[in-house]
Structure formats: C-alpha cells, structure tokens
C-alpha cells in the first residue's frame, strides 16, 4: 500500500515536471507549427549551466535562473527570427524538425566538447533530505522541481489569459491571418512566443539538474517521452499536453513496480502508438492537429 502511494506521489511530481516541459513544445507548435526536437537539448544545456554556476560560485542552482531564463528567452527569439522564419512555408513542419535536430546535435557536441562526457551531479545540502506524508517518502528536491513547474505553469496561464501580449499570442496561434488583420504584429509575437517556450526549458532544465545525473547525450532519453506527451495530448493543445503529461508520468511511475525502470519507459511509446491507432489527432487536439 505504501509502495503504491509512494509511486502515486512520485508520479504526480514527475508528471508536473513533464507538463512544464511539454508546455514549451506546445507553444512552439502553436505559434510556428514547429516541432522542436532541440527542446530537450536546451533542457540539458540549462542543467549544465546550473551545475557550472553552482560548482563555480557555490550558490544555490536555483539562482542561476536569473541568468538562464532571460538568456534562453533571447536565444528563442533569435532562433525564431533568424532561422525558423527562413524556412519555406510549404515544407516548414518537416524542415523545422531537421533544423531543430541539427541544433540539438550542435548543443550536444558543444557540451561534450566543453564539459567532456563525464557524468555530473550537483551537490546540495538538502540533496538527500526528505519527509513523510502518510507513509510516502517525498524528496525535497523533487518537491522543489514540482513547485517550480507549478509556479511557471501558473505564470504561463496568467500571462496567456490576462495580459494583452497573451491575448495577441493566443490570437496568433488560433488564426494568424485574422490576428494580422486586427493589427497584431504576428512575426514579433511568434518570436516572443518562441522565446517563452525556450524560457520554460531553462526552468525545467534547472529543476532537472537538482536531482539527476547529467551527461551530454541525456537529451535523447527525454526527447521520446516529451514527444509522446504532445502527440497523445494533441499537438498544439496546452491543456491536452498538461493532462497527458500527468497521466503518462503517473502511469510510468506505477508501472515501475511490476516492470522495473527500463520497461516502464516503453509505456510512453505504447501510449503513443495506441493514440495513433485510435485517435491520430491526439485526445485533446482539434481539427488542426490532424494535419500534422
């Protein structure tokens, strides 16, 4: 019983982090129709920056967010304006996959080149701390990661729903042409939307660095589950991605008891293929998702 409860708690915490990361992917897809393979590479980059920050200054890795979030936002805007907007509209979706894939390769290669392939881990005072809730052990670092995810998702929600920029971004996602007709500069909004997505990678990567060992090729390990989440949730739907992230994270965590860690990972792919057989457009995607 307590093992089950433990898995559920871990699954929810993990699902929250997945939801934050998938939200970034959904934003890119919404504003640019771009499938950003490099998202998880940026995640690892942020994790490395957090690690480097902590080992060289001795400060808490969370403080590195002050630097990485604006930095990643800027990189995202530049990436959209300088690279992705150059692709031909007719083949944008396919070619963007290849272009972002090449960016992922460059990031992985540079990480290996600069930090070597050695596995790294942040040493924290509270790294091993945990407390008990109804017999389930909750590691403090996992809770911090979840809290970061929850706060950023809430911030993202408020930004999208309550601000004028959010309104413009949502309009651009729903109907770019109409958005332009009412005077929205969709190019600029798309750039900011892309930057926003990459900023979530900075937060997610730092959260990830708190309690996992990192190495340059780790992003391959993340890309599959994240892609599965956005396909199951329906490409372009933020609530869909969040729900799929929680469900799949929970499912993976529960399956670890009978199957073990490695086989439990196949759950994401099983869900992906099952979704395609039953509902190719994903469970929350609308008419839009079907075409991609």
């Amino acid at each position: 019983m307590s093992l089950l409860l433990q898995s559920i708690v871990l699954g929810v915490l993990l699902g929250g982090l997945y939801a934050l990361l998938a939200a970034g992917l959904t934003l890119y897809f919404g504003v640019m129709r771009v499938v950003m393979i490099a998202h998880s590479a940026f995640l690892i980059l942020a994790a490395y920056l957090a690690w480097y920050f902590t080992t060289s200054t001795g400060l808490d890795p969370l403080l590195s967010l002050v630097v990485t979030v604006p930095l990643f936002f800027g990189i995202g805007v530049l990436m959209q304006r300088l690279l992705l907007s150059r692709l031909r509209p007719a083949t944008l979706t396919m070619m963007s996959v290849l272009l972002t894939f090449s960016i992922a390769l460059v990031i992985e290669g540079m990480l290996g080149f600069v930090f070597t392939g050695t596995q790294r881990r942040i040493r924290l005072d509270y790294g091993a701390a945990s407390f008990e809730v109804f017999g389930a052990n909750v590691a403090v670092v996992k809770l911090i990661a979840f809290a970061l995810a929850a706060v950023s998702l809430l911030g993202l929600y408020v930004l999208l729903k309550k601000t004028q920029f959010g309104q413009a971004l949502r309009a651009t996602i729903q109907h770019p042409e109409a958005a332009r007709l009412v005077g929205i500069n969709t190019d600029r909004v798309a750039g900011y939307g892309f930057g926003l997505g990459l900023a979530t990678a900075a937060i997610g990567g730092t959260a990830l660095a708190l309690d996992s060992t990192i190495y340059p090729s780790l992003h391959w390990h993340w890309i599959g589950p994240l892609m599965a989440i956005i396909v199951v949730g329906g490409l372009g739907s933020i609530p869909g991605a969040a729900i799929a992230a929680l469900v799949l994270g929970l499912g993976q965590s529960l399956l670890q008891i009978p199957l073990g860690t490695t086989w439990a990972q196949t759950f994401f792919y099983a869900a992906l293929f099952l979704t395609l057989m039953v509902r190719p457009q994903g469970f929350f995607g609308g008419r839009l998702a079907q075409r991609f």
């Binding site: 897809f29 129709r33 499938v35 393979i37 690279l83 150059r86 692709l87 031909r88 509209p89 007719a90 083949t91 944008l92 979706t93 396919m94 070619m95 996959v97 290849l98 272009l99 894939f101 090449s102 960016i103 992922a104 390769l105 460059v106 992985e108 290669g109 540079m110 990480l111 290996g112 080149f113 070597t116 392939g117 109907h175 770019p176 042409e177 332009r180 007709l181 969709t186 340059p216 391959w220 890309i223 599959g224 892609m227 599965a228 956005i230 396909v231 490409l235 490695t262 086989w263 990972q265 196949t266 994401f268 792919y269 992906l272 293929f273 395609l276 190719p280 079907q290 075409r291 991609f292």
Partner: protein
C-alpha cells in the same frame, strides 16, 4: 528539381548517349575503387560509404517519392542486422539466406508499423519514427538473453578464415555495390511507373492526389515497406561485414539522420542524389570521427552541415549550385520553364517586398502555412 522521368520525353539521342556514358564511368569508378585504394583502411572507408549509399538510397524510397521524412530508418537497418545475425547464430543457416530472410522479416514488421505511422503526416510521422528507434533501443538493450544486450552481438564471418581482412573488405565492397545497384534499379523503375507518379502526386499535394483517385494510403504503405526491406538488407550486409552489433550504434537516431542528410544534400528527387550525398557525407563523417573522435566535436560538424543543407539547399546540392550559376548568368529573354514551387516562391517574394514597405498583411505566406 526535376526527376529523370520528367525530362524523358524531351531527351534527344545525344543526351541519352551522354547519360549512358556517365553511367559507364560511374560503374567503372565504383568497380575499380578496390584496386585503386592505397591501403585496407581506405578500402574499409569505401565499404562504409557504400553501406551509407545503400541506406540513403533505401531511405529515399519513402523520403524522395512521398516526401515523408523519417528520422528513424535506423530501426530497419538495425533490425535487419540483428535478424541476420540472430538467424546465423541460432539456426546456422547460410548467411546470405539469413540476410534475405532478415529483410523479409523486417518488411513484414514494417506493414503494421507503416499502418500505424502513415496515418499521420508531417511532424507526427517524424515523431513516430524517432519513437520507434528509441523503443527498439530500449528493447534490444533490456532483452539481453536474446540479443546480447549492451554487451553486443558477435556474428560469425560468412567467409572461411583463409580469406584475409583486405580481401574480405574487397568482397564486401562489391556486395554492397551490387545491392546498391539493385536498389537504384528499383528506384528508377518506380520513378518511371504509374505507381511512382501516384507517389509523387502524394508528395506534392496529398489531398489533391487523393481526390484525383490515387489510393494514397496503399501507395504510401507499399513504398514504406519496400524502403524498409532494402534498408534491412543494407543493415544485414553491414552486420555480416562488421561482425559485431551493439544496440547503441544500431538503433541510433544519428544513423537515421545521416540517411536524411545524405539524401537531402544529394537531392531527394533524383536517382543518384542519395549516392552523391553518401559519398560527401560518408567521407565527412569518417574524417571528423577520425580527427575529433575523442571529443563530441564531430556532432557539431554534422549538426552545422545539416543546418546549412536545410536552410540553403533543401532541394539538394545540384539545384543549389545550378541556381548559383544562373544568378551570375545574364537572364534569358525567352519564356523560362518554372515549377509551381518556383512561381509560388517568386510571388511570395514579391508579396513580402510590398509587405516590408506597408507593414500590412501578406496573406499568401500565412495561407500556405495554415493549410498544410
């Protein structure tokens, strides 16, 4: 831009002869390579490049004809390699028969995979292809008792021990060349057929192709299975040559992306495009691995190369170069032959120029983006 079949009706006798001569020169170059190679290492690089050429040409059955970009074709080459190796080890069957059987097994597996993944287009298709490689990597690493797991799988040599290493390289070079020739011939035959026409219609506009009565799903599936079959044969031949399989290297997205890079660089619409790309990229891969193998720097080099190809020459190196040459030539006064894509590009360019001055809407560009 144009494939062999488009120009066929206007081909004169001279052009036909020139093409035949080119083909003979190409064949002579390939056949004489083993005797020209200065040492066994260069010869083995030649085998690797040939292997890449087989894989890229096999990839191009899907990528070139239907426009569906698969980043996960390493799943089929890896499966083909493992099927061949496991058959040889467990049943002791003749290695060449094992290779063929492995190809057929993978083709049979590709049917359900194709049915699942060809239901979605574009981005989702790419995601599924990536997911497939990652699943297979997990399975082949975890299922150690059957596949050898992370320790790898050692495959017995198909030739008896009296055949020395360099001779072995030479034989495998010719075997790869023969397989490449069969794959190229099949591609050429499909390119000229009604089936190929249907596939190319899917590439240009799948919805229109469907409304014109092309059985799009069946056509895509057949092309997909043919592609998986040849990719698996390529993987099997490589396994017999290399003699050792490791899941990390067999089921790697990197290998799949090399196939895409080679085909795109050489040109996915032409018969010999993937071969040309394989020679360039294969040489570059071996060079960078040789020079920067210890660091991860070769990844940076390959990533930058892929980005350059995607951004500046998505149609391949030959159209890119001929466009560059055309830019410095005086413009012809006569009516120029232009494809639909060129016209759309031109219109878009004009629309964007006016857009810059007025800062208004440019519907044409967004239209295309939204309707894809």
């Amino acid at each position: 831009m144009r494939s062999a079949s488009d120009t066929a009706p206007t081909t004169g006798r001279g052009l036909l002869l020139a093409r035949l001569a080119g083909l003979v020169v190409l064949a002579a170059l390939v056949l004489s390579f083993p005797s020209l190679a200065p040492d066994p290492f260069i010869l083995s690089v030649g085998v690797v490049i040939m292997s890449y050429a087989v894989l890229a040409t096999s990839w191009n059955f899907v990528g070139g004809f239907t426009g569906y970009i698969s980043l996960g074709h390493a799943s089929y080459s890896g499966l083909g390699g493992y099927a061949t190796g496991l058959l040889v080890i467990h049943t002791g069957v003749n290695p060449w028969l094992a290779m063929l059987a492995g190809g057929l097994v993978v083709a049979a597996l590709a049917v359900p995979i194709g049915i699942a993944s060809l239901r979605v287009r574009g981005a989702s298709f790419v995601i599924v292809s990536i997911a497939l490689v990652l699943i297979l990597l997990l399975v082949f690493q975890s299922w150690g008792s059957f596949t050898g797991g992370s320790n790898g799988l050692r495959i017995p040599r198909p030739f008896d021990p009296s055949v020395l290493r360099p001779e072995q390289h030479e034989r495998f070079f010719y075997l790869h060349a023969a397989l490449l020739a069969v794959a190229l011939l099949t591609w050429w035959a499909i390119d000229r057929s009604r089936f190929g026409m249907g596939l190319k219609a899917i590439r240009e506009d799948e919805d229109k192709a469907q409304s014109l009565g092309v059985p799009t799903f069946r056509y895509k599936l057949v092309a997909f299975v043919v592609s998986a079959f040849f990719t698996a044969l390529g993987g099997g031949l490589y396994a017999l040559w290399f003699g050792f399989l490791d899941p990390i290297f067999q089921f790697s997205i990197l290998v799949g992306s090399y196939m895409v890079l080679m085909s795109l660089l050489g040109g996915i619409r032409s018969l010999f495009g993937p071969l040309l790309g394989a020679v360039i990229v294969g040489y570059a891969v071996e060079y960078f691995k040789n020079q920067y193998g210890d660091t991860q720097f070769h990844l940076v080099a390959m990533g930058l190369l892929l980005a350059v190809v995607v951004l500046f020459m998505p149609d391949g190196i030959i159209p890119a170069i001929s466009q560059l040459v055309a830019r410095f030539r005086p413009q012809a006064a006569s009516i120029r032959e232009m494809t639909q894509a060129d016209l759309a590009q031109q219109r878009r360019g004009a629309a964007e120029e006016t857009d810059d001055t007025t800062d208004g809407a440019s519907p044409s560009r967004e239209n295309e983006g939204a309707h894809r």
